[in-house]
Symmetry: C2
Subunit: 241 residues, 2 copies
DNA sequence: ATTTGGTTTAACCATATGGTCAAATAATAT
DNA sequence: ATATTATTTGACCATATGGTTAAACCAAAT
């Protein structure tokens, strides 16, 4: 009754990969494989975190032998780092695009710009916020790069918003809300859908709530958040799009 | 160079437990130990999730031998269930207390009651929301009890709020906001601090933000959220505490 | 065709971890 | 005191999993 402790792939995958391989160029496919691994790893790490992710699952998803992961990325940690870097690059690109495309005029427009920027970033990486928080919560020493990015996220919000606010405050058109509460409002409203998505996907139907997290929802959400935040700090009734 | 694969406790714990044991009654301490285990397990499960939690870590935290966990709770899954049940009971108790203590009058008071109820529940179990979402996200078949509880959470919000809303809508004093957006606003604002807490604990200092998640913060938060939500749906300028 | 260097694979190892068990110990009843 | 029952412990097992390695494979150069 000797049970071999095999770790071979459960096979049944990899068809999709071959398709992709043939469609492009048939030579030098090592590049592709490296990328497939990265993509598969991203899925797995984002969903289960560093500890929860399984190398075998990544290999299966990518349709390659497990040893290849080590061949290309050395270790689980290195692969994880590569994934993080990849995501952060993507986020930074979106961030700069957004920043270049906007020139806010006035307080409300300023709020809208901030909200738009981050809703766009995270709707392109909807699982990232939850992943981030979970990794910070569980690992004693989370990858510093992630933290830096998040510090930038909030730092930028804070600076930009409060700069625009101070002039309004002096004019007396803005309420005297505590800054940490205002920031918590914005962060909560912006990040809420991404935190709640896994839950809503399951219980949404049970509630007769037509909650689809698609482009139109987020577009609508940007306006709602902007209005909500603006109305929460403006004094008189000029708040109305 | 034979390395024994020991799993014995790393010792250095358990002092605190002995203290507690002596302080109460010296006989029938099995009850206590069972409870110590449950408390330790709750800490561990809430922080790392079902898969991430380590039985040895729970044993160490409780200051007992690992086998005792199995003696009292049979298996990891059973212990997990016990933990969940314990939390849900606690939550339900708080919920009923809150419900009994309030009799809302008018729309704004209704909003305040809902917000108060859930802020109180979760400020007593601040790690629960994040834990919940993560468990739902990672495990294919999450414990149904958790989901039921959360469905109730939102169902109640929805019913109660929209019941109060419809009368206001007919009076024309309330904006025509999409219900799913309103619900998302409330959920985001209420749950935001609990989702963001692990992050803020670390990056707060780096931002000169005095964010302490204590009683006074949550008390303040209840009013802010109530105002914010109310202002976001009311039409004229009667929104002002 | 043969060599060469990069790529891929199966088999294997070391460790962590959930779980079991028989012996030891403490508590309780007789 | 002694027997019986409940509790506690250390040693051990089975499996999962990250990682290694030597051999096989394969494409391109000679």
């Amino acid at each position: 009754m000797v049970k071999p402790n095999n770790q071979t792939k459960k096979s049944g995958e990899g068809v999709e990969i071959e398709k992709r391989l043939k469609s492009d160029d048939n030579s030098q496919n090592s590049q592709n494989i490296e990328e497939f691994i990265l993509i598969a790893a991203q899925k797995e790490f984002i969903k289960f975190g560093l500890k929860g992710a399984r190398m075998q699952a990544i290999a299966d998803e990518a349709g390659v032998n497990k040893s290849l992961l080590h061949y290309y990325y050395r270790s689980k940690d290195k692969l994880y780092d590569a994934v993080i870097e990849n995501i952060l690059n993507k986020i930074q690109r979106t961030y700069k695009e957004q920043e270049a495309a906007h020139k806010p005029e006035g307080l409300k427009d300023n709020i809208r710009m901030i909200v738009t920027t981050y809703i766009n970033i995270f709707s392109e990486n909807p699982d990232f916020p939850l992943f981030l928080v979970h990794e910070i919560k569980t690992s004693r020493k989370p990858v510093p790069t992630i933290l830096d990015m998040f510090i930038n996220f909030i730092s930028y919000m804070k600076e930009n918003l409060f700069a625009g606010l101070s002039s309004e405050i002096s004019k007396g058109t803005v309420k005297n809300i505590a800054p940490e509460q205002l920031l918590m409002n914005i962060m909560s409203l912006v990040l809420g859908p991404f935190f709640l998505r896994p839950v809503m996907d399951i219980i949404g139907p049970a509630l007769n709530l037509p909650l689809e997290f698609d482009k139109s929802f987020y577009a609508q959400r940007i306006e709602v958040i902007t209005d909500t935040v603006f109305n929460s700090i403006v004094k008189n009734e000029e708040g109305k799009a």
